[in-house]
Symmetry: C2
Subunit: 270 residues, 2 copies
């Protein structure tokens, strides 16, 4: 048993989809979430800038006494998981390997698609992970740079002509590749599952990286006998821009109300 909290961070609000899954499958855990809304999005920035921001995010989270950190950000996981693991003496869980394992287990044709930010695709992290974990799989990747701004605008529901148009455009070439499994490689994308499902059709399985990283965290904590034991865990939220703006959108990602639970911090001090 270990009652210390789990730290979770993302460039913005997307990581809350992972928090939702963590709370669902490990309701006793305390969670500390940081969303770097003053610098969101990360997905078009250079690797150097992403690493610099991720190190600050980690340093802030490590100001709490944590038992593990979940990097609920596809862009950070793809670009600098190894560095962050090397620099920290607690388990650091990214989204890439858990999602790749899941996709490899789901695919029958061995043809898997990936949609992610430009920086995630450019990193080649998914190719490397498939090569190690499931070398028979053929991966087809597509950067979707407008998905994050659209989701952060709340433009994610079927019937919204703009998101439907953008999804059609981004996904058509993956559809032509006849994939049977699609990794949603960014924690914002679960909010687009319906729209993406509409375009890809019901025969394509969608892999939610946030849900898979939550499962990976549970496996790891179970193996180490480090799960918490309490009736109900608590979540606290930190943001680098206005708490009010964070909370307005957070309910969309978390599907629960978090009014007056968020504190603002100055991430440049970390």
């Amino acid at each position: 048993m270990n009652q210390q909290p789990i730290g979770v961070f993302d460039s913005g609000l997307g990581g809350l989809t992972a928090v939702r899954q963590l709370r669902r499958i490990m309701p006793s855990e305390n969670i500390i979430y940081f969303g770097d809304t003053s610098r969101v999005p990360y997905g078009n920035r250079s690797r150097e800038t992403i690493l610099k921001y991720a190190r600050q995010d980690m340093r802030f989270l490590r100001s709490f006494d944590l038992k593990a950190v979940v990097i609920a950000c596809g862009t950070v996981s793809s670009n600098c998981l190894e560095q962050l693991q090397a620099e920290n003496d607690i388990p650091v869980i990214g989204v890439v390997a858990p999602a790749v394992q899941r996709a490899a287990a789901l695919t029958r044709s061995g043809r898997v698609g990936l949609v992610a930010t430009r920086a995630s695709v450019r990193s080649g992290a998914y190719e490397r992970a498939f090569r190690t974990l499931a070398p028979a799989v053929r991966l087809f990747s597509r950067a979707c740079p407008l998905f994050v701004p659209l989701v952060e605008e709340g433009r994610c529901r079927p019937g919204d002509a703009v998101i439907e148009q953008v999804a059609e455009e981004y996904l058509s070439e993956l559809k032509a590749r006849e994939i049977d499994t699609l990794v949603l490689g960014c924690t914002h994308y679960p909010l687009l599952a319906e729209v993406i499902g509409q375009v890809m059709g019901p025969e394509v399985a969608l892999v939610d990286v946030g849900a898979e990283s939550a499962r990976a965290a549970r496996t790891l904590l179970t193996e180490r006998d480090a799960l918490a034991e309490r009736p109900e865990g608590a979540a606290s939220f930190y943001t680098s821009d206005r708490a009010e703006d964070f909370e307005r959108l957070a309910s969309l990602f978390l599907r629960e109300d978090v009014t007056n639970q968020t504190r603002e911090i100055d991430i440049s001090h970390y």
Copy 2:
């Protein structure tokens, strides 16, 4: 005569549309441009964060010996021009007042529209400026939060279904107001002039805030007898993320090639 350079900054690349105008109407001036690409966009952030970033941008530019600064960013101009003017002992020129003066001179019906970022619209700066400079004008404002991400993706040309759809949606309500003049209140938007013109029709005059601020800078320097005198001025570019990424898009905004002219700086040190 004053041979010192003019400093110009923006959250990202949009301000280069103002640089283009500055170079066109004052070709003898040296220009130092900073684009804060590691933190772009500013337009959805809180006023506090915008002010913090703008002060750092100013401090970086003031590390050069400048004769004036042009804030080629609608969001910063709308939210913190007065503070930056009060904190600096050289002229600081924003985009709001010059654009408002131009719109007031152009409108015949007295019905003027404004498209800008969410933070610019929320600031109320344009309403205040019209109240002071042209109280008879009725202003109709519309925040267009997806315009900047679309332009930064290069999705700005007629024929692109996504930008046309988004423009139609944002502008339809302004069109219904029967405005005859539309202020493009963000330095990214001149790249959308064709698409916006298509939706609004040829009878609506478009005001380019970058061009107006360039004109305001020339007027001010002329009055102070502070124009430069040399055959041809030079421009240097600084960015807070990768120079390569900056230069790839910069030509779109500047309409000239700037390969190998950009240096990277760490804005968090300022």
